[in-house]
């Protein structure tokens, strides 16, 4: 039970991190039609810039400043690079962001080196947020913070006690992601600029003829999307690893999220992020393979079949490919995506 709850929370927190990235990607895509291949690179930049700022000022100012810096970089890129290739069509736009991902990766390695950095979260986030204690006599207990050692040790050998801590960084990630989700939603629906953005999503010409500066709005959206990715980077970098390959590991997954959720659908991206986060987290925890399945069904496999690696592969080993399998299945059975409404 406690395993289920903790895995569920881990999955949700990872899914929310994915959503922090895919929301920016989706906003940029639905507004400008640009698939930002370098989105995960902005995530990586956020982690590295956050690392450097936190060296100077500490973690909390870095959490605020780094996304702004990354957002400014994104706006700069939009204004001086992306806008120039707009006239050549979407393929050229995709290409220039593809080139940017190369350049950012090399620049990051140039400035910060090729090995992983030690980007530690602040003291307050280093311990567990809460601990679930499963006591075979007293049942399930909930405790804020770390559990004292004696509570996790049974005095009697017959009593089984399992303590499952939930890391504070994960909890923090969830809080920030939810805050971000709410504020973006409020910004889009309740403010004037949000309404202009929404209008520019579908009818850019009409908005422009009403006197709004649509290119500036585009720049703002691109910068904001990059900034959100940067914010995710500061949190993700301090929770997981800050290393040059972090863009590649998360990059292809967020593309899967956007396609599975439906191109340009924010709520679809939210749903898909959570699903993929949960699938990956739960799959890692299980050690079942085709071989154990056959054994449970009572099938007798020959020794040669039992030794083949396909049968021996456990669910935790195939976890990395599950999002892509989901993508393929989705395209075969529902090409629009979960909540997509356009058949692009």
């Amino acid at each position: 039970m406690e395993f289920f709850i903790i895995s569920m929370l881990n999955g949700i927190s990872y899914g929310l991190l994915l959503f922090m990235l895919s929301s920016g990607l989706t906003l940029i895509f639905s507004m400008m039609g640009v698939l930002n291949f370098a989105h995960a690179s902005f995530y990586m930049l956020g982690a590295y810039v956050g690392y450097t700022i936190s060296k100077i000022t500490g973690f909390w100012p870095a959490l605020v400043v780094a996304p702004f810096v990354v957002g400014l970089m994104g706006a700069f890129f939009e204004k001086y690079f992306l806008r120039k290739v707009h006239k050549y069509g979407h393929v050229a736009e995709l290409m220039i962001t593809f080139g940017l991902s190369y350049v950012i990766l090399e620049l990051v390695q140039l400035v910060w080196g090729r090995i992983a950095l030690e980007f530690k979260p602040p003291e307050i986030l280093q311990g567990p947020a809460f601990t679930l204690i499963n006591h075979s006599v007293n049942g399930l207990q909930f405790l804020w913070g770390a559990a004292p050692g004696e509570m996790c040790q049974a005095a009697d050998a017959a009593i089984r006690v399992v303590c499952s801590p939930f890391p504070a960084t994960r909890a923090f990630m969830m809080v920030i992601a939810l805050l971000m989700l709410v504020s973006v939603w409020l910004l889009l629906t309740r403010t004037r600029i949000g309404l202009v953005i929404q209008a520019a999503l579908t009818h850019p010409e009409a908005v422009e003829s009403l006197g709004h500066n649509v290119p500036a709005v585009f720049m703002l959206v691109f910068g904001a999307g990059a900034g959100l990715a940067g914010l995710a980077g500061v949190i993700g970098g301090s929770t997981f690893l800050t290393e040059p390959s972090m863009a590649a590991t998360v990059g292809s997954v967020i593309f899967v999220v956007v396609v599975v959720g439906g191109m340009g659908s924010l709520s679809g991206a939210f749903l898909a992020s959570l699903i993929i986060g949960l699938i990956e987290t739960f799959a890692i925890a299980f050690n079942y393979s085709l071989g154990t399945l056959a054994a449970q069904l009572g099938l007798n496999l020959s020794a040669a079949v039992q030794q083949s690696s396909v049968v021996k592969l456990t669910l935790s080993q195939v976890a990395p490919i599950l999002p892509y399998l989901l993508l393929v299945l989705m395209l075969i059975f529902r090409p629009k995506g979960l909540l997509g409404n356009r058949d692009a």
Binding site: Y88, V91, F98, Y102, G113, S252, V259, Q317, Y324, L331
Partner: protein, 428 residues
């Protein structure tokens, strides 16, 4: 309307160009005889097929694929397994092994293409990316087929020598590659002239209209995808023969990215563009990467600027200047080209000196702070070398910008004159 009395039994220009191409393939290893040169030439042949097959998707079909290495790579795997099977008594000439790779690439394209060609544009790009990740992740999970970390190795001398050809010496493999390159290039060019090839262009330019005419755009994309997969597989099979080892990185994202980058740099809008791209790719990977550690950074920056200022790639630049030359105006801009090249080189020297100094500081800290750069010694920890490099860069940029403005003006004038000239000729 063409006059009916015009009689042209042979298209002289075309025969000439293909003849030159064949002679180049034949003569190149006689001119450059070192073993490094033979290796590079073999790789260029392989890359030409791969990039041309990629351009069936990108240039002719408007499909941006991030997973082309899947088809070259899986073709290479099947080919190397076929080679091993020949060693175990299968009857198949070694020279046919690339065909096995081609058929494998085609079969996988039939399978994966069904999913990916359901969409076009950006969605297609993401699906190919996802499939590429899927195949790459699988390659590490199934060591029986993919050989795990070490890859699958083989020996290409397993067949009986036929007329003295055992494929032992690299030069024999080169000529096999050359034959395949020539035939595959000719076939792919012929494909652009078939109704399907023409329809593919139409699907790229205006899919909606094609649907109205009554064609199924998805099917056209699918057929093109399968054909591209076939040629990609042939290139993979040749690579397997050439290196005698296939590792998991041949299906990796970096390989797919390289095909995309260099096909684009060569020029996707012209048929011969990818050939230039393939030559650049092999030279960059083999030679340029030896020269500087920062080559990926330079490559990325060059790519960015090409997308912005020359989206047609090198091929389009060549064709634009050929057009000017054919109207006899090249002399006017020639001076500007020389000046721009000079200023560009100066700016590049300054910028690259800075990049090399940063790389030196970051990567080779053990060897002190001095590095030799093009014969001069720079101290990466002294402000003077940074100021020097910065000054050189600024000077180069300044002169480049001055010349560029003049050049743009000249260029526009020349284009106007050419337009007038064309109208005048039409009037005659």
């Amino acid at each position: 309307m063409k006059a009916s009395y015009e009689f042209k039994p042979i298209n002289v220009g075309r025969w000439l160009i293909w003849g030159i191409f064949a002679v180049l393939l034949l003569v190149a290893p006689q001119l450059f005889t070192s073993s490094l040169a033979i290796t590079i030439l073999s790789q260029i042949g392989i890359a030409i097929i791969a990039c041309l097959s990629f351009n069936i998707l990108l240039g002719q079909g408007g499909m941006l694929s991030f997973g082309h290495a899947v088809y070259t790579g899986l073709g290479a795997y099947l080919a190397i397994h076929a080679l091993n099977a020949i060693g175990n008594g299968w009857y198949l000439p070694v020279s046919m092994v690339p065909i096995v790779g081609g058929i494998a690439g085609m079969c996988f394209a039939v399978l994966f293409g069904f999913v990916s060609t359901k969409k076009s544009g950006s969605t297609f790009a993401m699906i190919t990316l996802g499939l590429a990740e899927l195949v790459f992740a699988m390659s590490l999970m199934i060591p029986e087929f993919f050989g795990g970390e070490g890859g699958v190795s083989s020996n290409r001398m397993v067949g009986k020598p036929f007329m003295g050809i055992s494929f032992g010496p690299p030069i024999q493999v080169y000529y096999l590659i050359a034959v395949y390159t020539f035939v595959a290039t000719a076939l792919m060019f012929a494909f652009t002239r078939t109704p399907l090839g023409r329809m593919l262009n139409a699907v790229r330019d205006n899919p909606e209209r094609v649907e109205f005419v009554g064609y199924n755009t998805q099917l056209v994309r699918y057929f093109a995808f399968v054909i591209a997969g076939f040629f990609a597989g042939i290139s993979g099979g040749l690579a397997a023969l050439n290196f005698e080892i296939v590792t998991a990185e041949v299906v990796g994202a970096a390989r797919s990215g390289a095909y995309l980058l260099f096909t684009f740099l060569g020029g996707a809008t012209f048929f011969f563009g990818p050939i230039l791209g393939a030559v650049m790719m092999v030279l960059a990977f083999v030679l340029f990467s030896e020269f500087t550690k920062a080559w990926l950074l330079y490559l990325g920056l060059i790519f960015l600027f090409m997308v912005m200022y020359a989206p047609g790639g090198v091929a389009a630049l060549i064709m634009m200047n050929l057009r000017i030359a054919s109207f006899g105006h090249l002399g006017k801009v020639f001076g500007a080209y020389l000046a721009m090249a000079g200023a560009g080189i100066v700016a590049f020297l300054g910028a690259s000196a800075m990049v090399e100094m940063i790389y030196h500081l970051q990567l080779t800290t053990g060897e002190g702070s001095t590095l030799s750069y093009l014969g001069t010694v720079l101290d990466a920890k002294k402000a003077s070398s940074w100021f020097g490099a910065g000054f050189v860069l600024a000077t180069g940029l300044f002169f480049f910008e001055v010349v560029r403005r003049q050049y743009m003006q000249q260029w526009d004038e020349i284009q106007e004159e050419i337009e007038k000239e064309i109208k005048r000729r039409e009037a005659i």
